[in-house]
Amino acid sequence: MTKVLVVDDSNSIRDMVSFTLKSAGYQTVEAKDGREGLSKAQMDGFDLVISDVNMPNMDGISLCTELRKLAAFKFTPILMLTTESSTDMKMRGKAAGATGWLVKPFNPEKLLATIKRVVK
């Protein structure tokens, strides 16, 4: 089963992303910030990481940089969930090794459609 790590400091967004993914048959693990996300990633393998950008302790860009340093996450798709659709933010994400980005407001159908581009 496709296993997704969902990282967001907002409870409700995290719950919603998780709920949407689960309802489409994905398995999810949640983390409340980059630091927790990283430690969960170190313990376990994932097929996809969806992460918010703005978070306390460790932001999404740093998480992405750190994940890419791990052998197990070298090719794992990492999507940034962001309200900031500016190209600047996208470039920063790309530079850190992010696969793509999902623009908030979060829309369940769109989420499921777009992640198809990177996982089964």
């Binding site: 409700s12 798709p77 990492i78 992010a98 459609a113 089964k120």
Partner: protein
């Protein structure tokens, strides 16, 4: 029909209100250059905006967007943090709260205030930002449809390192129409030179179908910087029939590309749910509303874990006891006793743990005060600061919710009447800035909240003069300090020379006192002229459990709340003072305390009707002491309060009931209620007697 997310609205709302509080306290403490605080404020706004967008709370999204933009400029250091900006942001927080509440209740809000604030925000930002957003959506509409595309896709060798996989891109493309793929292996190096992590292939794809260029581009959105991508529209050379057959199928696919064969069950449930859509939606909306009214508590996982643990132990004890009971012989009585002992322990711990769930740190109630004091300082023009202590002290959630307003009133009062203007303070040798402090601590099963100011203190003489003026006391009355301060809580009393819009809002201190008493608490005042005042609020930790003294009257057992009891004593004959009629006074040191025989009040039969043999429990409420005459004092214990109103009906003099260990029901006495009952009775008797006299007089004439 979509994945229904409305079940997440309550948690979004709760989170948003928490976020707003965080923003508010962050803004109040914001120092220039404090980036961490700005970041956390920004994140809170950002989350609210994100969530609101998802649920379609557009008014919230739009407004928060402005706030977020301003915060973003601060965060990036493009804008200095000025006081004016902070004020606007504080106002914006208020507006966001209004908007979110309106979205929650589906009600109207103060549009004028929001419009004003949002135009001030826009002004602060400069207008150029407002228009840029709109263009984006416009140019999407212009893209053309074609019957298909030839796509040349030459990815960079490192494409896989950002987690992209061409295979998934192609399968996404295949959902738009029929796709033919040709891989180009020309660049494939010799086996020796291949780096397994690199990508050497390129592709030529042909997509047939009525597809927007935008849709195709969107699929390649994440890789466009890492590849050479050429899209060539295919002209209408293809057979017409193909495009005519496809459209309905295509249309469906483009609106719901999420669904594929691997998740048929979802598709079915979605279709099934699509039909009763409106009814379904209504149901979830009303469910959501009910939820917000019920309210929720966040409980730490450790608390829940300890509960589960305790329940586990209880189950073990229960099975042990029932095994004992199966074939019980007297030899086992010791084991039975130890089992019961264990049960007692389990129950007690379980009770405490459950109570702890309802306990929240008082910081929840205190959190609004920094803002309040900040606003009061601006409004009154006085310099003052707020010091909060003991915010981790825990208190029952219900008590907390109800103590909020009285506390606000007391703090307003301190700011308005207590703290003096800066020049007066300096002249008196005090620090220019006044201090209001809030302190909470536990004291013997109660929680004490102190509201303290270092202001002018209460002027005894002016209080007295005012009370005489209002006819509350006699001009010649001699009163102790605490009696004078109690006058502040009399209905219709206000010491300020003129009623200001801060503390004089028609809600007097009498209401404060009444609210506190309704919670089973009391309020005391200490004050030193020129030094300041302290209002001390004493509250029970919870409304569900009460420390009570069990007393016996006739065959009945009553419970007197421990908090109301001043002392209990054996009656000394010499101190009894019978005044006219039925009234009996008991001399308690300097006081004369009226004696109230409970058996008379509730019409009970008892052998103990002689005051000499009885015990006296002196209780106090509303500053009035009375002695309750009882047959006997029994144990002191915690009792669980059951509402009489819910189970039967309200009874005068009784505040509730409880079930005792032997299964019998005992009434909990409502001390203030009993006192006023007794007073009414005395007055009625007086009136009746007077009335009788006058009738007699008339007859004589």
């Amino acid at each position: 029909m979509s994945v229904d997310l409305s079940q997440f609205i309550p948690s979004f709302l709760e989170e948003s209100f928490e976020g707003l509080e965080l923003m508010e306290s962050g803004l109040l403490n914001l120092q220039p250059g404090d980036n961490e605080t700005i970041h956390s404020i920004f994140r809170a706004a950002h989350s609210i905006k994100g969530g609101a967008g998802t649920f379609g709370f557009d008014s919230v999204t739009d407004f928060t967007h402005l706030v977020e933009t301003l915060l973003d400029e601060m965060r990036d250091g493009r804008r200095e943090v000025t006081n004016a900006d902070t004020e606007i942001l504080l106002e914006s927080v208020d507006c966001m709260r209004l908007l979110i509440e309106a979205a929650r209740d589906e009600s109207d809000y103060d549009t004028e205030k929001v419009a004003q604030t949002s135009s001030r925000l826009a002004q602060t930002l400069g207008n150029e930002q407002l228009t840029s957003d709109e263009n984006v959506s416009v140019d999407k509409v212009g893209s053309e449809s074609a019957t298909g595309f030839n796509i040349k896709f030459v990815p960079e060798h490192s494409l896989a390192k950002t987690g992209n996989d061409p295979l998934f891109l192609f399968s996404a493309l295949a959902e738009l129409g029929s796709l033919t793929i040709h891989a180009n292996t020309n660049e494939l190096p010799a086996l020796m030179d291949i780096d397994a992590q690199e990508l050497y292939l390129s592709w030529q794809l042909t997509l047939i179908g009525e597809v927007d260029e935008e849709e195709v581009k969107e699929i390649f959105e994440w890789v466009e910087d890492e590849c050479l991508l050429e899209l060539t529209p295919i002209d209408n050379k293809l057979p017409q029939e193909k495009t005519e057959n496809e459209p309905t199928f295509q249309q469906e696919n483009t609106t719901a590309p999420a669904i594929d064969e691997t998740t048929p069950q979802i598709q079915e449930s979605q279709i099934a749910a699509a039909n009763p859509k409106s009814a379904d939606e209504k149901a979830t909306v009303s469910k959501t509303k009910a939820k917000t009214e019920v309210g929720s508590i966040r409980v730490g996982v450790d608390k829940v874990d300890s509960l589960i643990n305790l329940v586990g132990e209880l189950v073990i004890t229960q099975s042990m006891l029932s095994e004992l009971g199966n074939d019980f012989v007297m030899e086992k009585v010791e084991r039975l006793n130890s089992g019961l002992e264990q049960l007692l322990q389990n129950t007690k711990e379980l009770q405490e743990s459950v109570m702890r769930i309802r306990m929240l740190p008082i910081s929840f109630a205190f959190s609004r005060f920094p803002r309040l004091v900040h606003d009061l300082a601006v409004k009154t023009g006085k310099a003052m600061e707020l010091v909060i202590k003991g915010e981790q002290t825990e208190l029952d959630k219900t008590v907390m919710e109800q103590i909020g307003d009285p506390l606000v009133h007391l703090v307003r009062n301190a700011a308005d009447h207590g703290i003096e203007a800066s020049d007066i303070r300096v002249a008196q040798g005090k620090p220019e800035k006044g201090t209001i402090s809030l302190d909470a601590y536990h004291q013997g099963g109660n929680i004490v909240i102190e509201i303290n100011d270092d202001g002018a203190g209460i002027n005894r003489e002016s209080v007295l003069a005012k009370a005489v003026d209002k006819g509350l006391i006699d001009a010649n009355a001699t009163l102790t300090d605490s009696q004078v301060y109690d006058l502040l809580f009399e209905p219709g009393f206000s010491t300020a020379a003129e009623i200001t819009d801060i503390s004089g809002r028609g809600v007097g201190m009498d209401v404060v006192k009444r609210n506190i008493q309704a919670l089973g608490g009391r309020i005391q005042v200490e004050s030193t002229l020129g030094k300041g005042s302290t209002f001390k609020v004493n509250l029970p930790l919870t409304l569900a459990i009460l420390d009570g003294q069990l007393v016996k009257v006739g065959s009945e057992t009553y419970i007197i709340p421990l908090i109301a009891i001043v002392e209990s004593l054996q009656i000394d004959n010499k101190l009894i003072n019978r005044v006219s009629g039925d009234m009996v006074l008991y001399r308690l040191r300097d006081d004369n305390v009226p004696v109230l025989p409970i058996y008379q009040l509730f019409d009970l039969e008892t052998e103990c009707i002689e005051i000499d043999n009885a015990l006296l429990v002196v209780v106090e409420a509303d500053g009035q002491k009375v002695g309750l005459m009882v047959d006997d004092l029994l144990a002191q214990q915690q009792v669980v309060i059951k509402s009489l109103k819910d189970n039967y009906q309200q009874v005068a003099g009784i505040s509730g009931a409880t079930i005792l260990g032997d299964g019998s029901v005992a009434m909990i006495l409502d001390i203030p209620g009993m006192i006023s009952m007794a007073l009414e009775k005395a007055q009625y008797a007086q009136k009746f007697k007077n009335g009788g006299d006058s009738v007699k007089a008339e007859v004589c004439i």
